[in-house]
Amino acid sequence: MKDALVLVERFTAHPDSRCWHVAWNPTATLMASCGGDRAIRIWGKEGDSWKCLSVLQDGHQRTVRRVAWSPCGTYLASASFDATTCIWKKKNDDFECLTTLEGHENEVKCVTWAPSGNLLATCSRDKSVWVWEVDEEDEYECVTVINSHTQDVKLVVWHPTLELLASASYDNNICVYKEEDDDWECKATLEGHTSTVWSLTFDPSGQRMASCSDDRTVKIWKRFDGAYMTWKCVCTLSGFHERSVYDIAWCRLTGALVTACGDDGVRVFKEDSTADPEQPVFSLAAHVSKAHSQDVNCVAWNPKEAGVLATCSDNGEIAIWKYQDDHE
């Protein structure tokens, strides 16, 4: 393991509170972050360093848990513990709140846009997953409410190319949903983790999915399309993380996996290209043990620059890293 993860920049994003999530916009010119201070901050590059361009303070009454950019980059969605999801529209350098999506019973944990751009998914501690549709007039309507989980749903994520949705929950399971007839249904339930599944990420092709859990492991799942769609766990990475693994991201450009851990560390895993595709092998390529002084909550690969990564932490900071692949 001679690859390295080098710190490029570190700055305080949400003073005196947690930074829960950081997201690159599709063109990687901006970042959005959100935190326990109920604010959303928009960051832009000024020369070599990141500057706060805008603070969206009055959108939510409680912690903002997640922000997500629309595929076109014009809209931002924010999910909050106040049980609402706000949709913001970019107007020059600022954002204005277009509408607030209500309906969840309690804390909304995640929001994510479908690649098609006209569907949105949210999930909540109320155990439900909602799919929303937006029309040409920027009106949002609920498409469906799915109750497949028996506990708090931590994350929802869309498949990169197909209209498939996946969710991760405190009930230790992952559910995969598809539209059938005129409603959405859970088509597969992936069991295997022995504790809360915190996050999920699809590989660039969408054939595989990686999950990370409070059970301190990462699992790789492979999709099998037969009469029914099934997912099988083809690899488990254990012994690498000392605490709960809170986030995982699969790089669209390089295929590398990165994890955010409760032991304050950030780890990059690379796939062994010579291994049997039915039994993939991932090895630890880089590890920063004290990436932040507290829990790392989120990891996000830069969608345009290979090897560039953003992380954020309970200590309120955002850090930018460069993964140097020594085998170039």
């Binding site: 019973e105 109320d126 439900s128 309507e141 609920c142 409410v145 109750n147 005129d182 409603d183």
Partner: protein, 477 residues
Amino acid sequence: MASHFSGVLKLTDLDDFITPSQECVKPVKLEKKQGESVAKIQIEDDGSYFQINQDGGKQKLEKAKITLNDCLACSGCITSAESVLIAQQSQEEIFKVLRNNKLASATDQVVVVVSVSPQSRASLAARFGMSSSETGRRLTSFLKGLGVHHVFDTGFSRTFSLLESQQEFLERFQRKEQDKSALPMLTSACPGWICYAEKTHGEFILPYISTTRSPQQMMGSLVKDYFAEAQGLSPRQIFHVAVMPCYDKKLEASRPDFYLEEAESREVDLVITSGEVLSMLEQEKVILNEVKAAPLDELFSNVNGGELLSHAGGGSGGYLHHVFTHTAKQLFGEEVKELTYKTLKNKDFQEVTLEKDGVVVLRFASTYGFRNIQNLVQKLKRGKSPYHFVEVMACPSGCLNGGGQLKPLPDQTSKDLLQQVERLYKAETASLPEDDTRVSDLYHSWLHNVGAERARQLLRTQYHGVEKISNGLIIKW
């Protein structure tokens, strides 16, 4: 145990209607002994409690118990609301009442009345391969064999609900310019919808909801007021059971608004589901096909020539159909023979319009299922709802697909079963509420005599916004 209640009610959380509180404040009858004895309480390994007296003697202590009525009538209980409701509004309770009746003296006996919904009948009909009317006759025979005195059909009380809904809509339509919350009128027969509306949208949505009672509660009025008086009984002397296609109806029956304070009696004492009737049959080792048919109790049944009748307009009561056709006739002089339903976003969201001279004068919709209810309410909140009337049901595909209906057999798909149930339900001839002479007679003999206020109490109801309780002890993590 997974919740049986409708998806809408599940999300609403039952405990907001029957709230558990930190301590049960219901006094339990104790046998108090005089004296200054100080006793110790010892807990045995099996969990039973023994009182150890000063003289060393041991006495087993009785478990404190309270009845469902007491429990639900007070501010809180120590067990989960849902389990109280399910456990005590079950077929076991009916067997208990029937057993007690057999042992009781003439003065202590109760008259047992069972009101069966057409949807439950259709569900049982599908399972046993009979027509809905034949199922009604066999059920009558089975229930009477157990000791039930009368078996009625809520299709009869539904006639009242449809007539009242028609009337109420016309009143609301006439005052729509002065009263901004007169329209759209939202139906009130579905308790899953009502409880969700009361809890989640409170005072905003309640004025739009029809005050007309559901067929279940109309029957409650009929049985515990008209029938009781006609039979010279007090409401407490009648045990009224309703057979319904869902569990949410159990919650409706336990609403304080349907409790007769003076008589200390519920208008509907107990609700069991179609599935629970099947359990009763299985418990008694009875196969409905082998039961000899008994004549239907025509007093409170929608019958003609010994066959049960239905109402047009789908399996959830036909509110949209009847209010639409009645209004079209009364206000626009149009005789609508057949309604043209337009499917919107999904099959549980349909629209019907009436056009006159190229202008849409009536726009009605039916929204079934949580996602469609969500969108309806959100549009209403933004002032963007184009409808005059909406038939709202919590279950996708409506009441025929309720959570308490019989489940498909191993070789059946849910879809096929639902289609079969729908066919059997529709096979009953449709009757027109306006043409029912027995109902109109009752309007005169029963309701006109008691005066407008009492009639309103018997035919209508009201709603109450539920406050979100932020007591940390009640949050389920």
